[in-house]
């Protein structure tokens, strides 16, 4: 396999396996990634040790270039790492928006100095990033954003407000869209980076319908961004933002992971909560039909992810199919939550307390939280606009993107 650069795939697998055995703390086996939790506790010593070990190897970002701290590996080798982590019950401790969205974008658009400054910190998991895009008046119409950046020679002074800033309360740095020209819409936006640890930045978590606060309001009052942290040309931020959103949607659709959500299958849940008839079929025939329909949708989604991957082999970066995957994947995930709730009946509606199993409490929170899937990262409707205009060539009378 050329992917292994002439090397032996089994030798590489052995190397990874031995390294994981030597470095993965046994107490973390089978535990979820602490970064995936919405309310984060201070990481344990073992969690920190695992993050540092993986970060030092660059194996949390295995395909990123080695000169910036990535693994410098092929996608085949990356799969081996993923498989071996999975085999050992180990999570990838390097993640978040830096890995999913910002890193790939900076690798494409950043200067050499910017890459050398920021990418290694992402690869080691030393710096967490948040995304300053949406504003109260700029949601689906993102380019209507008004947060202003004033040119002060070697730096910008930023004033304004962002909203739905995921994980802002845990973030060290922000990649942010700011207005640097008020006479134009899309061509007046710049893409800047600045630290969240400064007096001009205030973060207020927003409590959502699911009860937790994964998002924040973020206020900037004379916050400062250094000029060297302007990515791309002044007033040229929109192009970069669109590219970043493609990476975001690719991640949100579950396209990379095949749409898996973990947990038990709907069929298993239905057997337990609804029961089966004498022939072993789910006892409620109406529900059974909808479960099988959902399974069929999920399989065809996975088949499409595989097909898109094979078709784009040789090309790099997300394809136009990414937009289709976001709508298809998020609708499927929301339907899974709806069916889970329905299958569990009243047991699936518990809010808290010991009358409910953790799995049941998770169902209702997941169902509510999942309503965001078709709103963020380009709403279902925005995705449909993109498909109809960019792919199907239907006319755009509103002239927005």
């Amino acid at each position: 396999m050329a992917d292994f650069g002439g090397g032996d795939p089994e030798a590489f697998r052995k190397e990874v396996r031995e390294w994981v055995e030597a470095n993965f703390p046994a107490e973390l086996k089978g535990r979820p990634n602490p970064m995936m939790r919405e309310e984060r506790a201070k990481p344990s010593e073992a969690q920190e040790a695992w993050r540092k070990a993986v970060g030092a190897k660059g194996w949390g970002t295995p395909t990123w270039p080695a000169q910036y701290g990535g693994g410098g590996l092929s996608s085949a080798e990356a799969r081996v790492i993923q498989q071996e982590f999975g085999r050992a019950g180990a999570y990838n401790p390097i993640g978040g928006m830096g890995v999913m969205m910002f890193g790939p974008t900076l690798l494409e658009y950043g200067t050499e100095d910017q890459k050398l400054e920021h990418i290694p910190l992402i690869c080691r998991g030393d710096v967490q990033w948040c995304q300053g895009f949406s504003e109260p008046g700029a949601g689906s119409d993102l380019a209507a954003l008004q947060t202003r950046a004033e040119d002060k020679g070697d730096h910008f002074i930023i004033n304004g407000q962002k909203i739905w800033t995921s994980g802002a309360q845990y973030a060290d740095w922000c990649f942010c869209l700011v207005r640097t020209d008020t006479s134009k819409k899309h061509e007046g936006i710049s893409f800047v980076l600045f630290t969240m640890h400064q007096p001009g930045v205030e973060v207020r978590p927003i409590k959502l319908i699911a009860g937790s606060s994964p998002f924040c309001e973020t206020f900037f009052t004379d916050a400062r961004a250094e000029k060297k942290n302007l990515v791309g040309p002044l007033n040229g931020g929109w192009t970069i933002a669109k590219r970043l959103l493609q990476h975001e949607r690719g991640g949100l659709s579950g396209a990379g992971g095949g749409g898996g959500m973990g947990g038990r299958s709907l069929v298993d849940l239905a057997r337990e909560y609804v029961g089966v008839d004498a022939q072993g079929r789910i006892a409620d025939p109406d529900l059974r039909t909808r479960v099988v329909q959902h399974e069929i949708e999920g399989r065809s989604f996975q088949q499409t992810a595989v097909r898109a991957m094979l078709e784009s082999k040789g090309n790099s970066g997300p394809s136009a199919a990414t937009s289709i995957m976001k709508n298809a994947g998020t609708s499927w995930m929301q339907m899974r939550h709806e069916l889970t709730l329905e299958i569990m009946g009243h047991q699936g509606l518990g809010w808290e307390g010991d009358a409910f199993k953790p799995e049941e409490l998770g169902a209702v929170r997941g169902w509510l939280g999942g309503k965001a899937f078709t709103i963020y990262g380009g709403s279902q409707e925005v995705q449909s606009n993109i498909i109809s205009k960019r792919i199907l060539g239907l006319p755009d009378l509103t002239q927005h993107n």
Partner: protein, 378 residues
């Protein structure tokens, strides 16, 4: 589109240029208007056979090219685009697969070369009611001398009127609904006691009800083993379903593209109707579903070529998903064309009618959803 090898690309290109030049939708309209009873243009079928399409899944030693089912699907997708009527699925996939899977050397030598060159048209006579239910076989095959005597009726036999060779499922033991006790027979359509009644269906394709009145056949007419026909039958049906889904994929994509073209030219309220978001979002939904369906259709065909154990579930997935999507797209084709879509002069009605006939053939969406669930143990 699946990643194709060189011969598959050539096959697809040949099918595309032949259908566009020789068999556009106007050819289907002409065939329908001519009232030809067999439901396809025999001259066009000869041309297809000359290009080797009837032998795509037949081994080379029996006159075929053995290119496989994905290759056959590529041809059918192009035929589906222009609604080209032909016995390719019934004969080149149905009868051919049954013989390849279960035929003796003598049976293969007798029939496959003639199926491959198009001189014999085969058809599957499997259903006996209004719904696809291949295990509900009541037609009996009673021992008679050294052979059998077949009595009963088969319904909605696709290409049943044109066929020279019928692959008939008959009951040799048990009762309707049992999978054991089904035996497959090769019966020449001109055998004594076979009578055929043409069915004029909405999609104008060839179909017939066929009655067997004490039809005598020898023991050598049995395909596979007596009482043990189910396995061959189910495998054959899965190949036919996967192939039909490929034809449906082509037809649905063409229906969508024709509709999309119309959205870009039809002007109302001073603007093309494709600028209205209500229609744009429905177009985006159709495009998304068509992409998902393509993946399912291609995966089923590839699984057959790989002789993968999950062929049955992937085929049911493919036929169910493709049926839903063709259903949606054919309805939207008429709706988005408005009044012109209701006229016989427009092609939209052809796609709508073909959609429902193809959905019902060899198992509707509800049949295949149920089957998918049963295969997966729920």
């Amino acid at each position: 589109m699946a990643v194709l090898n060189e011969e598959q690309s050539m096959l697809r290109d040949a099918a595309k240029s032949w259908t566009q030049e020789k068999s556009p939708v106007t050819a289907f309209r002409k065939m329908r208007d001519s009232g030809v009873e067999i439901g396809y243009d025999a001259k066009a079928w000869n041309e297809m056979a000359e290009m080797g399409w009837a032998g795509v899944i037949i081994p080379e030693e029996y006159g075929g090219s053995a290119f496989g089912y994905l290759s056959m699907g590529l041809i059918l997708e192009e035929l589906g685009r222009t609604l080209t009527a032909s016995p390719l699925i019934a004969s080149g996939v149905g009868a051919a697969s049954a013989l390849v899977l279960g035929g003796s050397d003598a049976q293969k030598s007798e029939w496959l070369p003639r199926i491959a060159d198009g001189s014999v048209v085969g058809a599957l006579a499997v259903d006996e009611g209004a719904h696809h239910a291949p295990e509900k076989v009541a037609l009996t095959a009673a021992k008679s001398g050294a052979g059998y005597s077949l009595s009963g009726t088969k319904t909605f036999v696709i290409e049943g009127l044109a066929a020279n060779l019928l692959v008939v499922s008959a009951r040799t033991s048990g009762k309707p609904g049992d999978k054991d006790g089904i035996t497959l027979f090769l019966v020449p359509a001109d055998a004594k006691g076979v009578s055929r009644k043409r069915l004029a269906l909405a999609d104008s394709r060839g179909a017939a009800n066929i009655t067997f009145d004490k039809v005598e056949v020898g023991a050598d007419a049995v395909l596979g083993a007596a009482d043990k026909g189910w396995d061959i039958l189910e495998k054959t049906l899965d190949r036919v379903r996967a192939a039909l889904a490929a034809e449906m994929l082509g037809a649905a994509n063409q229906a969508f593209e024709t509709t999309l073209d119309y959205l870009k030219v039809r002007v109302q309220f001073g603007q093309v109707i494709g600028s209205f978001q209500a229609l744009q979002h429905r177009a985006a939904k159709m495009f998304t579903d068509l992409e998902l369906a393509r993946s399912a259709v291609e995966a089923a065909l590839q699984a057959i070529d790989a002789d993968s154990p999950d062929v049955p579930e992937l085929v049911s997935l493919s036929k169910a998903k493709m049926g839903d999507v063709f259903h949606l797209v054919s309805n939207e084709m008429v709706q988005m064309h408005g009044g012109i879509g209701m006229t016989d002069a427009h092609d939209a009605g052809f796609y709508l009618k073909r959609a429902r006939a193809a959905e019902a053939a060899f198992g509707s969406q509800s049949y295949h959803r149920d089957r998918y669930a049963r295969i997966n143990g729920y």
